[in-house]
Symmetry: C2
Subunit: 134 residues, 2 copies
């Protein structure tokens, strides 16, 4: 199968990675995700990697790319379900997954995204209040 399905859940998109990402699959995923964020106006992307037992620098870069691409479209990316061994490997390899947030599972990832969105929206609301007080 050449595509990884992207599921829409309200304001968020959910992707579960179950197969090893090779070049073309990763490119398709990046492209599909960016198009979906634009099409749906999603505010967050959740990437579940609970089935991933080995992470390498290629996959680390793909996750970082996705986070940066979605960020410029105003959507945060959260990686969820990382196995302990993967976390150890990431740090030992010196791959800190720049710009990628992480959470223990999908539910906590959604909470994190909700709080980030509330914060962003809250900030703009605060600005409004500030202006109205003036």
């Amino acid at each position: 199968m050449e595509k990884i399905p992207i599921l829409r859940m309200g304001r968020f998109l959910l992707v579960t990675i179950q197969v090893d990402l090779y070049d073309r699959l990763a490119e398709n995923l990046e492209s599909d995700l960016v198009h979906m964020v634009r099409k749906t106006g999603a505010r967050g992307v959740l990437i579940d990697i609970s089935a991933v037992s080995i992470i390498d620098s290629f996959m680390g870069r793909i996750l970082g790319n996705i986070a940066m691409m979605t960020k410029v479209l105003d959507a945060e990316t959260v990686v969820v379900g990382m196995q302990p061994a993967v976390a150890i490997t990431l740090i030992e390899l010196g791959l800190p997954l720049k710009g990628v947030h992480s959470a223990l599972n999908v539910e906590r990832g959604m909470e994190l995204l909700r709080s980030k969105i509330a914060l962003q929206d809250g900030e703009s609301q605060d600005d409004d209040i500030y202006h109205s007080i003036e």
Copy 2:
């Protein structure tokens, strides 16, 4: 990878099928799902098959099995994201996916599950009202 990840989303469990199901993988999925339903007390299971382009009698039976197994644990199963070609094949092969509900996408699947749960809970509430009037 020998396991398909099962994601918990509130009262529901979500599974996306991205790889061809062979015997052992299917058995693991059935077993994992039943254990997860019991452990989490989930009321519904969503199985996304949007990445599945070919469905055969084996996979049809697996989906039917999962629906029956979860049903006895008081959880409904909804298959979501079926491709049009798969729907055609299912009917032409005479595989009606007995006991399996279906919905266009995850969001509609969740709505369907919510309405089913509300109906079930509503029925028991009605009973309570009936008794209290008595």
